[in-house]
């Protein structure tokens, strides 16, 4: 039944008479009309025609009257009690906290971002320092290193990532070779496609493809896993049992990544070269034997080491960013989601930054 009301004056007294059901499903219809009412002074409430009532209905009555009714006519099973209960709770109606709008909000966000960027940098460096010191301490006493844990991470984070890394690296080799064959042909230099593939895969693509894939696959897994442990207080349990999370969680992952990243990079490099080799063979008619000879004779071995020497840096970044964000997860699900996101973003960002730094450095060294 629809909610209705009647607002009348009866011998000098103002009366608000309720009719129909006043429940959460029906009061929407009278909400605006009641807001327009201005009941100053004492009001008598008439419940004679009232059907069912709930807290929503009681609240509308209380809001309209601005307080408890002066007098009540008619009987109702629950209305009086409900209005009393609602009246008790209503004193605490409050304003929503202000939110910034417009330009102010933009400044607010920029400020917060700058501060958080500074804090993140400091925390990352702090974590790097602590991790390396714990690693050094453990390496001096290798019996304390959790090898089982480390090997298990090597399998899940390294070995299981091998197929996808090799496959993608192969594709990148193919793409670079196609690009070379096409662009270099304009200069009549398409034979140098071999050098293009070899230089780019050895120096850059092998290691960068591996690191970016590990950032998406392994780094995020570290954060999610450790973050979930943090949320369920497993990390706290470790601490009170006298287990250092740095030793039990961070160092095994660091060791696993340090061991596996070079291996994965090496295999990714081979796969990239294979992709280039197949395209050169198919498109340019350079036989595999010739391709290999050209690479062996024409490309200094330093290029291979330029690529490989970046891998420990990548490994440290990937392992530590993943672990740090996991350990800094809060107690709720939202914070876990945020941490995984920033973990992946920071890891990929740093992979590229490290790569650029190395590129500039080697350029200056003339390698």
């Amino acid at each position: 039944m629809q909610a209705t009301f009647d607002w009348r004056e009866e011998g000098g007294a103002r009366v608000l008479a309720l009719g129909g059901d006043w429940t959460v499903r029906t009061v929407g219809a009278v909400d605006e009309a009641l807001r327009a009412l201005d009941p100053v002074g004492e009001v008598t409430l008439d419940l004679t025609a009232l059907g069912r009532m709930d807290v929503a209905g009681a609240w509308l009555v209380r809001r309209t009257l601005g307080g408890p009714p002066h007098a009540v006519q008619g009987e109702h099973v629950s209305a009086r009690r409900l209005i009393d209960v609602t009246n008790g709770a209503a004193s605490e109606q409050l304003e929503r906290p202000e939110h910034f709008h417009g330009l102010y909000a933009v400044y607010d966000r920029i400020g917060r971002s700058v501060v958080s960027l500074a804090q993140e940098t400091i925390r990352s460096l702090d974590f790097l320092g602590r991790s390396l010191s714990v690693l050094a301490r453990q390496l001096l006493n290798p019996g304390r290193i959790r090898w089982v844990s480390a090997v298990s991470v090597m399998e899940s984070a390294g070995l299981n990532a091998l197929p996808i890394i090799v496959l993608l690296s192969f594709f990148v080799g193919v793409v670079v070779a196609y690009l070379g064959a096409r662009v270099l042909a304009d200069f009549g230099a398409s034979v140098f496609t071999v050098e293009l593939v070899a230089y780019s895969v050895l120096r850059e693509f092998g290691v960068v493809i591996t690191a970016v894939l590990l950032a998406g696959r392994t780094n995020s897994a570290f954060t999610a896993q450790i973050g979930a442990m943090k949320m369920r207080q497993e990390i706290d349990a470790m601490r009170v049992l006298g287990l250092d999370p740095m030793e039990a969680i961070v160092v095994p992952r660091l060791i696993a990544m340090l061991a596996m990243t070079p291996v994965l990079t090496f295999l990714a490099t081979l796969a990239g070269l294979l992709g280039g080799l197949l395209v050169c063979w198919g498109v340019l008619g350079v036989s595999p034997a010739l391709f290999i000879t050209r690479v062996q004779d024409g490309i200094p071995i330093e290029n291979f080491f330029v690529g490989m020497c970046k891998t420990p840096a990548m490994a440290v970044v990937l392992a530590l960013i993943g672990c740090r964000h996991g350990l800094e997860t809060g107690v709720d699900v939202t914070s876990l989601g945020k941490r995984v996101t920033s973990s992946v973003v920071q890891a990929i960002f740093l992979v590229i930054v490290i790569d650029v730094t190395f590129a500039v450095w080697f350029q200056e060294l003339g390698w």
């Binding site: 959460v24 009061v27 929407g28 909400d31 807290v55 209960v85 209503a90 109606q93 709720d332 914070s335």
Partner: protein, 256 residues
């Protein structure tokens, strides 16, 4: 309390693989009563609750809520029944991406066409009815203590003024003072709003303070049902241990 039956369970059987949780369970929850469901851990109290509200399907048996067989209803009819109950889960289950206030607003936004202003007012009323002070309304659930979270969860369960309220261990993990306040609040709200309450609990104080009737689940069946005095009078085996152990005596001593 009218004599009408709000929830009728007949011949309920639940099996998880080899494990038999309910073995031909019969239960009536009367309209307007607060029924406390107790039993040793693992007797399927929470499972029973989940099956009544349709989150889990029983292996066999019939469950009627408000005289309607839920499993047989189509989507819209089921929706109508679901609007008439509120459920509060053990850990509160507040949506962690919304503020406490938005959590309580959520059912209004979903199921009513009230104006946003009115929804905000009603959410604030529900929260203060549940005993949450004004400071916490706009906090995120993660910023609240366990007791506050339970209150917020109660406010959300009560949002649409349900006739039937399911509570899964509402006082578990609360300190005795907070739990006592929660009991008083529950009793007051249930009386004022004429609620039917299905209350799963381990807390003897809650049983003694708020429940009209008590239902003991044991070995897959309802081992005893009735007022606290009736259940205690006929108590044997586990039920006797439950009510006359040191915790039971401490909680019920004042009732003697």
């Amino acid at each position: 309390m009218s004599g009408e039956v709000a929830i009728r369970v007949r011949g309920l059987v639940t099996r998880f693989g080899e494990q038999v949780v309910h073995d031909g369970l019969d239960l009536d929850v009367l309209q307007g009563e607060i029924l406390g469901v107790v039993g040793p851990s693992g007797t399927g109290k929470s499972v029973l609750l989940r099956e009544i509200v349709g989150l889990d399907a029983p292996t066999d048996g019939e469950i009627d809520v408000f005289g309607q067989r839920l499993a047989a209803l189509d989507r819209d009819a089921r929706f109508e029944v679901e609007k008439r109950w509120g459920v509060m889960f053990q850990e509160g289950a507040l949506f962690s991406s919304l503020t406490v206030h938005e959590n309580v607003e959520a059912p209004f936004r979903e199921h009513t066409d009230l104006a946003p202003d009115l929804i905000a007012e009603l959410a604030a009323i529900k929260l203060s009815l549940a005993g949450l002070d004004a400071d916490s309304h706009f906090k995120m659930p993660a910023q609240l203590s366990g007791g506050m979270r339970k209150r917020a969860a109660l406010a959300r369960a009560l949002a649409l003024d349900p006739e039937l309220l399911f509570l899964d261990e509402p006082t578990a993990g609360l300190d005795p003072v907070t739990a006592g306040r929660f009991d008083a609040l529950l009793k007051e709200l249930a009386r004022a709003l004429g609620l039917t309450v299905f209350l799963v609990t381990h807390d003897l104080d809650t049983l003694a303070a708020v429940c009209d009737r008590i239902c003991v689940l044991y070995e897959g069946k309802v081992a005893a049902i009735g007022t606290l005095e009736e259940v205690r009078a006929g108590a044997t085996g586990w039920i006797a241990d439950y009510f006359s152990g040191p915790r039971g005596r401490a909680a019920l001593g004042k009732e003697r």
